[in-house]
C-alpha cells in the first residue's frame, strides 16, 4: 500500500552514452533506527544477526544485513523486507534498554553508480566525497535535504533520504546527470 505512493518507484536516470553514471531507485528494504548504550553493542549485534560497527561512520555487512553507526549511541539497520519482523522479535527479547524504531517507510534508497558518481554527488554535498573511505556511511546534507550517504564501493554510493525530500534530491540528480552527460 505504501509502496504505491513510493515517489521514485522504478525510476532510473540512465546517464550518458559512455554510461559513466547510472542513478536508480533502490529496492525496498527494512530499515530500523536503533538507539542503545554503546556498552551493550555486543548483545545488540547478536539480536540483529550481524555485528554492529563500533566507530561512527563504520558499516558492517553480513548475510544481507547492514548496520551503520550514525552517532555515539545510534545505528541504522537495514535488512531484506521479509526479515524485518524477525528483527523486531529478536530485539524485543533483548534484555538491554534500547529503542528500535521501524523507519522502513520513512526513507527511500537511491543508488548512484558509475565513474562519475562522486562528481555527481559533489554537486550538492559539501564535503570531499573522494576522501570518503569505501564501506563507510554518514548522515549529511544534500543541497538542503538531510540524507544518509553510504559508500558501498569506489564507484557506487547509496543515498537514504526521507521520502518527502526524495523528489527534490531526484530532481537535482537528474539535472546534474544531464550536465555530466553534456560534459558541462
Amino acid at each position: 500500500m505504501l509502496l504505491a505512493n513510493h515517489p521514485l518507484l522504478g525510476k532510473t536516470i540512465p546517464g550518458d552514452t559512455a554510461s559513466r553514471l547510472n542513478i536508480r531507485a533502490a529496492d525496498d528494504t527494512a530499515r530500523f533506527s536503533l538507539r542503545i548504550d554503546p556498552a551493550a553493542v555486543q548483545s545488540a549485534g547478536t539480536a540483529f544477526g550481524a555485528p554492529l560497527p563500533t566507530r561512527i561512520g563504520g558499516m558492517v555487512e553480513a548475510g544481507g544485513r547492514t548496520a551503520l553507526q550514525l552517532g555515539p549511541d545510534e545505528w541504522m539497520l537495514m535488512a531484506p523486507v521479509a526479515e524485518g519482523d524477525g528483527i523486531v522479535d529478536a530485539f524485543s527479547a533483548l534484555g538491554e534498554t534500547h529503542s528500535l524504531v521501524d523507519v522502513g517507510h520513512r526513507e527511500v534508497g537511491i543508488l548512484v553508480e558509475g565513474e562519475a558518481a562522486s562528481l555527481a554527488l559533489r554537486s550538492a554535498i559539501a564535503f570531499d566525497i573522494d576522501a570518503m573511505p569505501v564501506g563507510t556511511g554518514c548522515r549529511t546534507i544534500f543541497d538542503k535535504a538531510q540524507i544518509v550517504l553510504i559508500r558501498e564501493d569506489k564507484t557506487r554510493f547509496r543515498i537514504e533520504v526521507w521520502r518527502s525530500f526524495a523528489d527534490h534530491v531526484w530532481g537535482l540528480l537528474q539535472a546534474v546527470s544531464r550536465e555530466i552527460a553534456l560534459g558541462i
Binding site: 561512527i56 554518514c138 549529511t140
Partner: protein, 111 residues
C-alpha cells in the same frame, strides 16, 4: 565553507551540518528559586560576547546529533579546537597544542 571537527565523529565535517548553540560553560543555577531577578536575568541573557577567543557550543545536527564545545576566534572565525560536552574549559596550553596538531591532522583528515 568552514570545516569543523566533530569530537564524536572524529572527522572534519562541513559547516552546513552544524548548528550554533550559544556560549559554553554556563551552568544552570542548582536552585533557581533562591536567585534574585537580576541574577536570573544574568543567567538567561547576559553573555560575554568577546572580541577574540570564544568558548561556544555547537551541535552536529545533521551528523551524529551531539552537542559539543568549540574554541573559536570571533575575529578570524578560526576554530582553535573542539572538545566533548562536559569536558572542562581547556587551558591556553591545550588550545595552542590543539591548534598546531590540527594543522598536521588536516592532511590525513577523513570526512
Amino acid at each position: 565553507m568552514l570545516l569543523i571537527r566533530c569530537p564524536y565523529c572524529e572527522a572534519e565535517r562541513p559547516e552546513v551540518e552544524f548548528t550554533y548553540a550559544g556560549e559554553a560553560h554556563i551552568a544552570r543555577p542548582t536552585n533557581p528559586s533562591v536567585l534574585s531577578d537580576d541574577e536570573w536575568r544574568d543567567f538567561l541573557f547576559i553573555r560575554s560576547n568577546p572580541r577574540g577567543r570564544h568558548f561556544e557550543r555547537w551541535r552536529h545536527m545533521h551528523g551524529c546529533g551531539r552537542f559539543f564545545n568549540a574554541v573559536r576566534d570571533t575575529v578570524t572565525d578560526k576554530f582553535a579546537m573542539t572538545y566533548r560536552a562536559g569536558a572542562p574549559r581547556p587551558s591556553d596550553e591545550e588550545i595552542a597544542l590543539a591548534a598546531t596538531s590540527a594543522a598536521t591532522r588536516a592532511k590525513d583528515a577523513r570526512p
